[in-house]
């Protein structure tokens, strides 16, 4: 059994009367990548801040690297790497100075920091930008620099709060690639995200958080098997017949049918068979698409399609 690095039991965070995290339990093992999925306001960031020892739990038990975060915060933080949701880079310093100054906050000797800085800038592909001011960097570069900075103390756990939110697709892929390499090297990752592809690619295990609690947990594959079907048939009808079609389709035996404003989704074992059945009912969709279920289907099923800020 691998070592438990973070253990939470009944972990709760309240701000006044608002409950941000409502009694969650989880164990994080060394070497795994653990993801928190959920809509905005589900309690992901509050959980990350408690694990980062910058927010004391209101109730419950939390042990990080075998220690109590309230009593031993600085000692635990010395062994964590944190990539916060919004960059907190030092804009008055250059790229290289950011790593130097941050490493000094950990009490590392300058020579060691310089050595690691060269490696880390290489790793995040910023070697040629070392002397630039942070302001001059693009959003993706700043994110990569933040990741490099979080690794300066060779942390036991790397905490990433929405590491790719706000990045363009190219920049996201570069960040994912770097995070994947870290995972391959055995770095323990905890991350929050609302990108399902990110979670699917990076996470060994994940929880879906909704309304301050866990709605589900498991590996990506387990979640898809448990909460969705193997395939999804997406149908689009002429707006005029959309509603009638939706009514008729209820006769077809799907595990679940979801009627959206513009599409109808059928969660089925075999998409092609279901499409044939739709046609047999005399319905001719404008377009049809058979695809495999993704985590996104699980996520929307569990957290609903309501819109939150």
């Amino acid at each position: 059994m691998p070592e438990v690095l973070v253990r939470a039991r009944g972990l709760t965070k309240r701000f006044g009367t608002f409950t941000a995290v409502d009694g969650i339990d989880f164990d994080l093992y060394r070497g795994e990548a653990f993801g928190f999925l959920g809509p905005n306001g589900a309690g992901k960031s509050s959980t990350m801040r408690m694990i980062g020892c910058v927010s004391p739990p209101t109730e419950g038990e939390l042990t990080i690297l075998g220690a109590d975060p309230v009593r031993n915060g600085p000692a635990i933080r010395a062994r964590l790497g944190v990539v916060p949701q919004e960059d907190t880079l030092d804009v008055e310093l250059t790229v290289r100075e950011n790593l130097l100054v941050y490493g000094r906050y950990f009490g590392l000797p300058r020579a060691l920091i310089r050595e690691r800085t060269a490696q880390l800038l290489e790793f995040v592909q910023l070697s040629d930008r070392g002397g630039d001011k942070v302001d001059a960097l693009s959003g993706g570069m700043k994110r990569r620099l933040t990741i490099a900075r979080s690794l300066i103390n060779e942390p036991d756990i790397l905490i990433l709060d929405e590491p790719t939110t706000g990045l363009d697709p190219q920049a996201r892929h570069v960040v994912w690639d770097r995070l994947f390499r870290l995972k391959q090297r055995g770095v323990t990752l905890i991350l929050t995200t609302h990108y399902m592809d990110e979670a699917e690619q990076l996470c060994d295990r994940l929880v879906v958080m909704d309304h301050a609690r866990f709605a589900a947990e498991g590996t990506p594959r387990e979640l898809i098997e448990r909460y969705s079907t193997r395939e999804v048939l997406e149908l689009r009808f002429d707006p005029g017949v959309h509603e009638q079609a939706a009514e008729k389709i209820k006769d077809i035996s799907a595990k679940r049918t979801e009627v959206l404003a513009d599409r109808i989704l059928l969660y089925v074992k075999n998409g092609d068979e279901a499409l044939a059945a739709v046609r047999a009912h005399g319905l001719e969709p404008l377009t049809s698409l058979v695809r495999r279920s993704t985590l996104e289907d699980v996520f929307l099923h569990l957290t609903g399609r309501r819109l939150e800020d």
């Binding site: 010395a78 804009v91 100054v101 941050y102």
Partner: protein, 281 residues
């Protein structure tokens, strides 16, 4: 009757290990040095801004001390002797510059780092503690203040405005004034919501600057006003510096110094607590 073995004797004079650790935490630690190191690195890019702080008090000295001083002539000094006005006003201006320098760093700069720069957020994700942040900011204000005080004293000495060997204590006393005001300024800043709130700081520091017996002796005030002015920290600083520079030294100066030190320590403690309260939620 035999004496108890030595190891059984309670050593009540020494605080427990836990209490020592807590004291050390409250007083800050190496983390504050590292934040000061960061500030020093930032100002390496902007050393001119840093050096420019030397000039403002010197301009006051030239304008009020040398310029206005010609019209004023001689005034009664702290020992009852008549002294040229510029000799009288120079230590007061040193006290004012110690106050202003400390306040600038610990209010505007701290507010920016707290609300906009997210510097403390980044710092507190590392082993650095809130109390160390407070100590670093106040310490940094003092390092800056020290440079300005030394420059001012050099100018005063070269103009022949220093009359006592006690004046060697003027720089440490200027730092003490800076300590008190930096700590209070930082404490106040942790309660501020927006830039508008800084008007309150001006509302406090401008009358202190004008009325703390900086430009004339306390004796011009009626008795009731005198009592109020005597309790202001800048007045204590002005008197301390004036008495040292003009050589009218007595034991009362120790009380004045202690008063400033207490303000500084209390402010340091509260501002550290406040930083933690604001950011570690």
């Amino acid at each position: 009757m035999t004496a108890p073995p030595l190891s059984d004797l309670p050593l009540r004079m020494l605080p427990s290990a836990g209490r020592l650790a807590r004291l050390r935490q409250a007083a800050g630690g190496p983390g504050s040095l590292r934040l000061i190191e960061r500030h020093a690195r930032v100002y390496r890019h902007a050393w001119l801004v840093f050096a420019s702080g030397v000039f403002e008090p010197l301009f006051y000295l030239l304008s009020i001390g040398l310029g206005l001083g010609v019209l004023v002539g001689r005034v009664t000094g702290p020992g009852g002797q008549l002294v040229p006005y510029r000799d009288f006003v120079a230590p007061g201006l040193l006290a004012v510059s110690a106050m202003n320098g400390a306040m600038y760093d610990s209010t505007f700069n701290v507010f920016f780092r707290l609300k906009y720069d997210k510097l403390y957020e980044a710092v507190l994700a590392t082993p650095v503690r809130p109390a160390e942040v407070a100590l670093a900011e106040i310490g940094w204000a003092l390092i800056r203040g020290c440079l300005y005080a030394v420059a001012f004293m050099l100018v005063m000495t070269s103009l022949g405005l220093v009359h006592s060997p006690w004046a060697v204590l003027a720089v440490p006393v200027a730092l003490l004034i800076g300590f008190a005001f930096a700590a209070m300024g930082m404490t106040g800043t942790t309660f501020m919501k927006s830039w508008q709130d800084f008007d309150y700081i001006l509302l406090a520091s401008t009358p202190l600057f004008l009325f703390s017996a900086t430009f004339y002796p306390l004796s011009v005030y009626p008795r009731a006003v005198r009592v109020v002015v005597e309790w202001t920290p800048l007045y204590q600083g002005v008197v301390l510096l004036r008495d040292l520079v003009l050589g009218a030294v007595g034991p009362a100066l120790l009380w004045r110094a202690a008063y400033l030190a207490v303000l500084g320590v209390v402010g340091l403690y509260i501002s550290g607590r406040r930083i933690g309260k604001l950011l570690l939620v």
